[in-house]
């Protein structure tokens, strides 16, 4: 039987049993739409919200936190070993070991500023300067893939920088560092999207400040502030000689620390060496390990633990698990709907085949083999599944669009509020339609098999 002939017989047959077809398709479409809705929401929440807050393709390695109180006997052993053999530190050797791991794409060291820093600025943003202590860390510029403006994210300190006594001696955009009488570009600074989200979702609303999104983010680049190294507004602790450095915001990157400023690693290494000693410049605070695309972080985590280090618990695991559990619950509900729909398909086919016994007998009489009959009936069920699947996905998509629209217009802004809570990926759509077809074929398999096994004579003489 050719494809074209099968198609023709199929369409004619489905049109004839339109009512039963529509009812079965309705059941399948309801099940698929519920399944599509919750799966797309789960994917959307993971992709558009969770992955923004807790990127899953990277892990943050930190020094071990073993203590008697926290981790019992093993922790006690760790603590004793730390006292005897010294605390394990994140050195260059550890970086090389992790870089050699087969699932690791790259390893980027981070180093926190180990002394007080305070700063002020932000007039362009809020109309008056903001005074605050600044949590700063440094990261390898190679970790940052985003384009930065107006300055590149790199170390600009250089002994060959021109001499100056005040800013006006320096070229446009450069500032005079008075402690060493050199013109230098401001220290490039990155902030995290999370910080921006919290500013927009909480801070801006609380103080009636403008939200920073899209165009304004670009306007924000080039925003200048002043950092005073070795001094604090909140603590009396002082370190070394107070020095001022100009900071310039060059971009927003998820490589930046969540709450604070991130500058090129070399600045922090120099500053730590000067204000907190050489050890503070060489022992990294943490390592960002980027996992290769499509690879699992599990193996890397195991290696990290074997090396005696810990993984920073950012809550991603718990949040992911919560989403997974909720999704599983709804998916189970959808699957039970689909199971009922599949039984309905089976029932439809049992009834349709009983009604069409003579017709199937005639087909056998004029040359249809058992396989032809089986194929024809299964093709009918596959078409049923396809139509039900497509309608189900479309309905889910429409409901999702409605919810997204309502969210945009009716819900207030909150941190990480996404434009859409759903992610209807191509794989999901194809998978759902395929699943729907599979269910219908499975539902029709038993009645179709029975029909195919019937002898033509039995089919023709059935009352």
């Amino acid at each position: 039987m050719t494809f074209r002939q099968t198609g023709y017989l199929l369409v004619q047959s489905l049109l004839r049993t339109l009512r039963a077809f529509v009812l079965s398709v309705f059941g399948i479409a309801v099940g698929v739409s519920v399944l599509a809705f919750f799966l797309a929401m789960s994917l959307g929440m993971q992709k558009r919200v969770l992955h923004r807050i807790f990127p899953t393709d990277r892990i943050e390695v930190i020094p071990p936190k073993a203590s008697v109180q926290d981790t019992g006997a093993l922790g006690a052993l760790g603590a004793i070993s730390a006292l005897v053999g010294g605390q394990k530190t994140l050195s260059k050797d550890v970086i090389e070991t992790l870089r050699a791991h087969k699932d690791v794409e790259a390893v980027f060291p981070r180093l926190r500023v180990a002394f007080p820093v305070r700063g002020w600025g932000g007039e362009r943003l809020v109309g008056r300067p903001i005074y605050t202590d600044l949590p700063i860390d440094g990261i390898d510029p190679a970790a940052v893939s985003e384009k930065t403006t107006p300055w590149e994210f790199k170390d600009y300190e250089n002994a060959k920088n021109p001499f100056c006594t005040e800013d006006k001696n320096c070229p446009q955009g450069f500032f005079c560092s008075w402690d060493k009488n050199q013109c230098e570009p401001p220290v490039p600074v990155l902030i995290s999207p999370t910080l921006l989200e919290f500013y927009n979702g909480s801070f801006a609303r609380m103080y009636g400040l403008p939200r920073i999104t899209g165009f304004l983010v670009n306007q924000l680049r080039g925003l200048l502030a002043t950092a005073e190294l070795g001094r604090s507004f909140v603590s009396r602790r002082e370190a070394g000689r107070a020095r001022q450095r100009k900071l310039v915001l060059v971009g927003v990157s998820d490589r930046a620390q969540t709450f604070g400023l991130t500058v090129p690693l070399a600045y922090v290494q120099r500053w730590n060496a000067e204000y907190a000693g050489e050890k503070a410049a060489t022992e990294f605070s943490s390592l960002t390990v980027q996992v290769k695309p499509g690879r699992s972080a599990t193996g890397v985590v195991e290696t990290v633990r074997k090396l005696g280090f810990a993984i920073e618990d950012n809550g991603a695991e718990q949040a992911g698990l919560a989403v997974l559990l909720i999704t599983a619950l709804f998916v189970l509900t959808a699957l039970s709907t689909l199971a009922v729909a599949t039984l309905n398909v089976a029932h439809t086919f049992f009834r349709a085949i009983a009604e069409r016994r003579h017709e199937l007998g005639v087909m056998r009489a004029v040359g249809a083999s058992r396989w032809d009959v089986l194929r024809l009936l299964l093709a009918e069920s596959a078409v049923m599944g396809f139509v039900g699947g497509v309608i189900g996905v479309l309905v889910a998509r429409l409901v999702a669009l409605g919810i997204d629209r309502m969210s945009r217009s009716a819900l207030p802004d909150f941190p990480f509020k996404p434009d859409s809570y759903f992610w209807f990926s191509g794989e999901l759509v194809v998978g759902l339609v395929g699943f729907s077809m599979l269910l219908c074929v499975l539902g029709a398999a038993w009645p179709a098999r029975n029909a195919a096994r019937l002898s033509p004579a039995e089919a023709l003489t059935a009352r």
Binding site: M1, T2, R4, Q5, T6, Y8, L9, Q12, S13, L15, R16, H358, E359, G361, V362, M363, R364, A365, V366, G367, A368, S369, R370, W371, D372, S455, P456, A457, E458, L460, T461, R463
Partner: protein
């Protein structure tokens, strides 16, 4: 291949058939031996339940549950796969049933085209349609190509069924009570059509209750209790006696 006379078309040997599996089930056919010769127009007659329709189904390859042997132009049915037997039905055997068995949801032309849909070597669509139109023309229904079976009279439906049976120019036409659902005039037209096909060389096997159908054939085989009670050329039969007593209505379906 079974050894046969080259004139033999269908060869049935020691054919027995019992419905169901219980030992108490009635035996419908009991050791039937029958040879249908090429170009013959054979009539199977008998009371209801005598096994004539069952015999027709078996020699047409519609029923494989039997004892004994059936061969068609030397091909033993028991040695053919389901696909091979389906192909044999498709290419070499035409069926006409009492209840017409047309697909009600497609046009007459598509009904006639149905064998092509299941052929292992289907004709190209254009050629197949030409042939189907020719077959409809042959049975006098050239103007009914697009009509649905529901729009036709009983006689017209049976003609469409005959056109469908003739699509692949079969070697044998098997007809089960072909006039059973038709009035006398229409029934006679169908008999005339069969006679015409017979004159053109087609082998026909007809199951019937009707003497006038039997009188149009060349040979009458009478079945009684699953056995052949009489096998004679039509010319040998007395013209005045009914060939079979009517104990069942024409539309009664037999096993």
């Amino acid at each position: 291949m079974t050894e046969t006379d080259e004139r033999d078309c269908i060869l049935v040997k020691k054919l027995s058939k019992r419905y169901g599996t219980a030992t108490g089930d009635p035996e419908v056919l009991r050791g039937v031996d029958l040879t249908v010769r090429r170009g013959e127009m054979l009539c199977l007659m008998g009371r209801s339940g005598s096994g004539k329709s069952t015999l027709l189904h078996i020699v047409g390859g519609l029923d494989r549950e039997y004892e004994g042997s059936v061969s068609f132009f030397g091909e033993d049915f028991s040695r053919l796969s389901d696909q091979a037997l389906a192909n044999l039905r498709n290419q070499h055997i035409g069926f006409v049933f009492q209840a017409f068995h047309l697909l009600s949801h497609v046009s007459c032309l598509d009904n006639v085209l149905l064998p092509n849909a299941f052929s292992l070597s289907p004709l190209p669509q254009k050629e197949a349609k030409e042939r189907a139109r020719g077959a409809l023309e042959r049975v006098g229904l050239a103007d009914k190509q697009k009509s649905r079976p529901g729009e036709l009279s009983g006689g017209q439906k049976q003609r469409v069924a005959i056109a469908r049976a003739l699509f692949f120019h079969p070697q044998v036409l098997l007809c089960d009570e072909p006039t059973g659902n038709l009035d006398d005039v229409t029934g006679q037209q169908i008999i005339d059509l069969f006679s015409e096909l017979h004159r053109e060389g087609l082998t026909l096997v007809l199951v019937t209750h009707e003497p006038r159908v039997a009188s149009a054939t060349t040979r009458v085989v009478m079945l009684k209790n699953g056995r052949i009670a009489q096998d004679s050329e039509t010319n040998d039969l007395p013209k005045t006696e009914p060939l079979v007593s009517h104990t069942a209505t024409a539309d009664e379906t037999e096993r």
